[in-house]
Amino acid sequence: MAKGKTFSKPKALSDAHTHYCPGCTHGIIHRLVAEAIDDLGIRGRTVGVAPVGCAVLAYNYFNCDFQEAAHGRAPAMATGIKRVRPDLMVFTYQGDGDLASIGLGEIVHAANRGEKFTTIFVNNAIYGMTGGQMAPTTMPDQRTTTSPFGRKADEVGMPMRMAELLASLATPAYVTRQAVLRPKHINKARKAIKQAFTYQVASRCFTFVEVVSTCPTNWGMTPTDAIDWAEETLLPYYPLGEFKVPE
């Protein structure tokens, strides 16, 4: 028999069953973060900051310290934690409604100040928890509950590319966009998240990992159709790769 692989749940992930919808890729991203924490052996000194959004209950799913932030204010809270205790590993876990909309000021200024924490930005092009409203990252002509005839670019502009936006700042940072749509994307995303935490361990710079994700429920698709749609529609507009690496 060919040599197989073993697989077990990372220790940084708790035993709790997640509340996410079937096929929601939040669970994959949670696992990748937990694997990075395990690999670097930093579970005892890691603090996560949960957002408002679908991941609002993320503190139930990690075996590390967690703090819940007000809507969009996770980077501000992470700044405080990291400045008071630079020895702690701090990461924020935010969705696109949280980070790109109400929390835009916080994330841009945290990145511009070069705060040495990690942001995991889950981009699924829609507001999930609140019921599928249009987000700043919603694609043109994408139907949502607040754009029932599709997003009109001439009325509300084009979707925001957060990784490119933050990469344009002059302050050194690690900015990358990954996806969790296919197994090959997942392997690359795992490396990127670990790289981000590695930079933080070395106190190098602000680190930002955008992850292109799916929302089958609010897109009105089956989980497998949502993956296909994301690959056909989101990936051409949100190219994957590293946009900025510290010198």
Partner: protein
């Protein structure tokens, strides 16, 4: 070296992502529900399984694990 492929039925939400990515078409969704009302995945053709762990990687709910044992019977 033998491998033990385990799908935790109560964790599974029946999203079918593992079924879609399996390179050997081993997995299928069950026709009976678990206690949460989902149709969980199961190995319909376990003999074809190559233990590549791609299903484990794709599962959003960490419901699939593969353990290695020293048992030589497999």
């Amino acid at each position: 070296m033998a491998y033990e492929h385990c799908i935790e039925t109560e964790r599974c939400k029946g999203c079918g992502l593992c079924v879609a990515v399996c390179p050997k078409n081993v997995l299928e969704l069950a026709t009976e529900v678990n206690t949460k009302g989902y149709f969980p995945a199961f190995r319909a053709r376990p003999d074809d399984c190559i233990y590549c762990a791609i299903c484990c990687n794709m599962c959003p709910d960490v419901a699939i694990t593969i353990a290695a044992s020293e048992d030589e019977s497999a």
